[in-house]
């Protein structure tokens, strides 16, 4: 899918700090019969990578990068009415970014994919302390836990979290995703039962649809 025109329009709006213009771009994209996952994967994700690249190359400041992220999170809240489904399953999923991981747009997108598949969700956001997460998960007993990690150097925290959860709740299904697991960094997950790596929202959506068929 080539959405270069929309991507450039969204990029311009975010760099300008115009929530209104960015909202218009998102609305037009959805009106063209694109799915929410198309919107997240092809438009928002790609545009945010471009924002990240502009910071890396010294063309924008951290402040501008944060402004863009804040606008994107607001836009995601704006379209929540298109995501929420009236008929929820009883199944519950907990979604968050692991301890020390400050990025949360990805895990928020993951939470929305669960909701679109009729799951009840508890979205905890970024940098969720390991012990608090485990207490929370034990207290509400979800069917699935989805963890996001954007930076490779948080891999030890991810593995430590997995080890503790697997000890406390061995049967819990765990989904792992995020940019920090590229280039084969997810290989160690094969050592854990009921832990699945999903590289993007499409694969997560397919997995959840398969789960729904089994219910």
């Amino acid at each position: 899918m080539n959405q270069e025109t929309e991507k450039q329009a969204l990029l311009r709006a975010l760099l300008k700090g115009s929530r209104e213009n960015a909202s218009q771009v998102i609305k037009q994209f959805i009106d063209q019969d694109h799915t929410i996952i198309d919107l997240y994967e092809y438009l928002i994700k790609e545009t945010m990578y471009e924002i990240g690249y502009l910071w890396e190359t010294g063309k924008i400041s951290v402040a501008t990068e944060h402004l863009a992220s804040a606008i994107v999170e607001n836009l995601m809240n704006e379209i929540y009415h298109l995501i929420a489904t009236p008929e929820k399953k009883e199944d519950l999923a907990v979604i968050c970014s692991i301890e020390n991981e400050q990025h949360q747009i990805g895990s928020k997108m993951v939470s929305d994919v669960y909701e679109m598949n009729n799951w009840n969700t508890r979205y905890l956001g970024a940098n969720t302390p390991k012990n608090d997460l485990i207490h929370f998960v034990k207290s509400i007993n979800p069917k699935m836990l989805a963890l996001s990690m954007s930076l490779f150097f948080h891999l030890p925290e991810l593995e430590s979290t997995l080890q503790t959860i697997k000890k406390e709740l061995p049967g819990l299904l765990i989904i792992i995703g995020g940019q920090g697991l590229k280039h084969g960094s997810q290989d160690f997950l094969k050592n854990y039962q009921n832990v699945f790596y999903k590289p993007d929202l499409f694969s997560l959506d397919s997995f959840l649809k398969t789960q729904n068929q089994h219910d």
Binding site: E56, H183, G184, F188
Partner: protein
Amino acid sequence: MTKDVLTESANHLSQACCETIEEYKNKSSLLVSKMNASMLKKSNLINIVGSDNIEMMKDNHANHVQFISSILKYKNTAVLIETIIWVFRTYRSHGFSIEYWSVQLNEWINILKEELSQNIFDEIIPYYKWMLLNIPSFVLLSEQNT
């Protein structure tokens, strides 16, 4: 030098043993603290890291030990190379000089030698020598990617 040649040389670096990973990780705060102190003593620091970049330099040192800890534990050549290229490009774009990389890596080597057990140092040092040796390649690759 291409990424393929870098990959070939990086493949010879060994995955560290648990004891090495543990000691490096446990001493990481001390290593970062000594590194920052040592760099801050340099009279030409502004020439090396650029103006208004002291905090960014400290961030880099903190991220460095976290990254090396992860690489020692989950050896991944592609991540090692891609991340170093990313770091070179990003920090250069924000005003750090090319000299920063050799100054920084030589400082790390001195501090690691002082603070780590000899056998642990011996296991880690090939990574630092590999990074130091390949600075020109990383500079080149980071400029190509811009």
